[in-house]
Each structure stands twice: as structure tokens, then as C-alpha cells.
């Protein structure tokens, strides 16, 4: 069994992104950039409109990927070695013969295919009208990005980004959180011990009285509220120390100023 990382890499190596007759090189570059972002390397461009598409400035960080992209005269030729050809787009005005899968449901199907040694092509049509009937006839499956019916038409680069995000984040899952996340729980820092919290509650409570925020008759009730509050806030140890320092200072100042006044009143 390969380590998790290598299994993922193996998987994306068996997924080809295919752009059919893209008109705007900026969109080709944007698609390449999204591929690099999500760990996909294999791009095929079918009959592009603009001959100098490989120089697209939008391919930030994906210049090599664009250089290595395959150029193909036809969709049929470009998907010849694939075992599963997935077409993208909205299918509202069409009645496709193939199964239509919503993008959030796609990953398990593709995982199955890859696990039995298959090769996938993910096919995107031209900007204006999407895949033609002839293109669709080469697809085993259609995938639809769930968009607002009032504004279903996506930008090509954004559609590629969304599809690859979905696949990269859900192909390997057994949804494992990235390693850095396990330490990202809000209390990665040490928690204060309970006694420290009680000391803090005590000092705040004295400050409440000294500042005449609350009368000393409320001390017991306040102490309990404060204990509860301080625990609910999930302070870390450093927070607790700093807050304690602040309240000690306030308390000292209130009492110091107070004593000066009392002396004055005598």
C-alpha cells in the first residue's frame, strides 16, 4: 500500500483535463493555474482558437504545465486512452442520454474508476456555448456544477477551479483533514489550570467592588458567574496571565487612588 500522499499523486496522474476549442488564452492560463493549485498536471487543449495560447500570462505558477500540455486536433483523439470521459456544463436545454451527476456527488464515482485502474478525462467546452452534441456523444457521464438557475453560466477558469477543488478535496477522503489542521483547534496552546482561573476570578471580583461596578453583597454571585465565564471562554495560559496582570494593576491603582482620597478626607 502506498502512503496517502503517493496514492493521491497517482490518482491525479490518471486524470486529464481537456479544454475543447477555448477562445480566450487567459482562460486556458487560468485553467492551468487552478490545475497547479490542486495538484493536477495533465492538460490537453483541443483545437484552440488562438495559436499562442501557451504564453498565457494568467498561468501564474503553471508555466511548465502549459508548456507540457498536449495539443490535440479533436476531442475524440484526445480521449482515446481514457476509460471514463466526463463532460461538464449545464444541461438545462438538452436532454442528455447519459447519467447526469451533480459535482458534489462525483468524487466517489471517480475514485471507483481509478481504483480499478481506469483513466479519466474531465472535459470542458468552449466559453460561449459549451460542449456540442458531437462532444457530448464522447462522454460516459455528465457532471453539472449546481448553479443558480437564473445565472448558470460560469467562467471557464472558474468552472475548472471548482471541479478540481471538489475532486482534490474529496477524492482521497475518507475525508482526512490536512495534517496542519489537527493542531489548529483553538486551544493548541496550553490551558490554564483551574486554580489560576479561580485566582483570576477573585481579582476581577475584587475589582468589581473596588470600582463600585457591583456592591460587595453581590460578591458570591459574581464569583460564580465569573468562574463559569472564564471556563466557557477557553482562555489559554498566556491569556489568563495577561488578564490577571491587567486586573491586578487596575485593582492596585483603584485602591492606591482611593487611599489617597481617604487620607485627604480625614
Amino acid at each position: 500500500m502506498l502512503p496517502e500522499d503517493q496514492r493521491d499523486r497517482l490518482k491525479t496522474d490518471h486524470i486529464e483535463v481537456v479544454l475543447v476549442s477555448p477562445r480566450n488564452p487567459l482562460n486556458i492560463g487560468a485553467a492551468a493555474r487552478a490545475m497547479a493549485n490542486f495538484g493536477f498536471a495533465r492538460l490537453t487543449v483541443v483545437a484552440p482558437y488562438e495559436p499562442h495560447w501557451r504564453e498565457a500570462k494568467s498561468a501564474v505558477g503553471a508555466e511548465k504545465l502549459l508548456e507540457n500540455a498536449r495539443l490535440s486536433p479533436s476531442l475524440a483523439a484526445s480521449v482515446a486512452a481514457s476509460t471514463l470521459v466526463v463532460g461538464t456544463g449545464t444541461v438545462e436545454r438538452r436532454k442528455p442520454e447519459q447519467t447526469v451527476v451533480a459535482l458534489p456527488d462525483l468524487a466517489p464515482l471517480i475514485r471507483e474508476e481509478l481504483e480499478r485502474g481506469g483513466r479519466l478525462s474531465l472535459v470542458f467546452g468552449p466559453e460561449k456555448h459549451g460542449l456540442t452534441r458531437d462532444d457530448l456523444a464522447l462522454c460516459h457521464l455528465l457532471v453539472e456544477i449546481p448553479t443558480d438557475p437564473e445565472q448558470p453560466s460560469m467562467n471557464l477558469g472558474q468552472a475548472v477551479a471548482v471541479c478540481l477543488y471538489e475532486l482534490s478535496s474529496r477524492l482521497s477522503s475518507r475525508t482526512q483533514a490536512p495534517a496542519h489542521l489537527s493542531s489548529a483547534a483553538p486551544t493548541a496552546a496550553a490551558r490554564p489550570v483551574s486554580a489560576h482561573l479561580d485566582m483570576l476570578a477573585e481579582v476581577i471580583q475584587q475589582t468589581m467592588v473596588a470600582s463600585r461596578y457591583s456592591p460587595s453583597t453581590m460578591a458570591a454571585a459574581n464569583a460564580q458567574d465569573l468562574r463559569l465565564l472564564l471556563r466557557r471562554l477557553a482562555l489559554n495560559d498566556g491569556d489568563a496571565r495577561r488578564i490577571l496582570g491587567l486586573f491586578r494593576r487596575i485593582l492596585w491603582r483603584l485602591r492606591h487612588e482611593g487611599s489617597v482620597n481617604r487620607n485627604h478626607e480625614k
Copy 2:
């Protein structure tokens, strides 16, 4: 079917997309287009670089959305009414104090917040460097799009599309928040709005100076620390009000006693 749609619409009405200092109007337009694709309508643009951003040609099908977008001078002002501010970006070179959530785990947290009547701001930084430290200090939570470590930097329009796809396709589904993250939203009670937290930070900061806990030269650093701390603590609205009341009282008393003393010293 229809009730589901209406619930979703209600939810996205409480989600604001905030673009901070975007440089390229094409990216603003692309963000607006993705918003329209996924059923989001509320856009705020903070201090854009180019004054004619509302005419961005890339906002295909989202011209009205751009027209209606709010223009804001600062991030603080634009998130003032939000109960949950979520910053986006890669955090590799930083060690953020906030919880970092991977995008695929975000929807359940946001659903919880919306279900208790909260309002969300989803914040995107400028193209080159992302959100600054000051921006991040206004965020309760950071979300990271899981990208390839070799090429983590996404195009702004594509990042917006990916985030909104994730939210729109998974906000309504009944997946549970991972257990270790539920403490990012620990209280059933309503959260304070961002402006209220900033007011609290301001009063505490003044108290620090008035009590001579910290010199006034530290005001800016303290203000940032306090903003972060207050957001990390996940105070509920009642907590925030009570703490504000206490510090106002302390501050009044410190200043009042102080003035008595100064009179005395004359």
C-alpha cells in the same frame, strides 16, 4: 423543493462577500460573476485600487450585483454588523491565533451561525499578498482552501468561486461539524457584532493606559492583540455587554479618582 430553495436564499442573504483592496477590476467582476452563479447577492468592496471597478467586463450576468455592491473605506467598517468574520488565504508563513478550518469543513460551522441568527462576512485579501495582520485581527476564523504546497497561491476570482461553490453546495446538507472544531462556535447564545467587540477593545485599551498597565505608546499593538483575543474567546452577546459595562465603570473611576487627586495636588 421550493421550501429548500427559500431556506437557502435566506441563508445566502446573511452572507456578505468582502473583497479587500482588490487591484484588478477583472477579478472583482469575476468574483461578482461567481456570486451570481452560486446565488449570493451581497458584495462589499473595501478601498479598491481602480475607481471604475463597477464597470468590470468580467461580471457577466452580475452587472446589477456590481452596481449594488457596497463601497467601504475599511474592513473594520465593512464587517461592523457581522457576528462571524471569516478570513480566507493560505497561512503557511504565519502562525495565526485563530482557528484555521479547511474549506471542506467550513459549511457546518457557518450553518450553525446562520441558524442562530448570525451574519457572516467572508473576506478575501488583495491579489498579491492576501490579508494583512490588521485585517486578520478582525477575523474570528480563518479558512484555508486545501491547495498543493508547491503552488498554493490562487487567482482571486477562482478562490471566490471555489469558496462559494463549497458553501452553496454544502450549507443545506446535514453534515456535522468535526468534533474538534465545534468549539469554534461553542455558545448557543448570539454572538456580538464586530463593531461591539471593537468598542470593547477600545475601552479596555484605554483602561490599560489609564491604569498605567501599559504605556500609551503600546496602544496600537495592544489594540490589535485585544481585537484578536476578543474574537478568539467566542464571547456571546451578553458577555460582551457585561464586560463592556465593567470596563466603562473602571475607566470612569480611574479617571474620576485621578482628577480628584490632580485637584488635590494643585
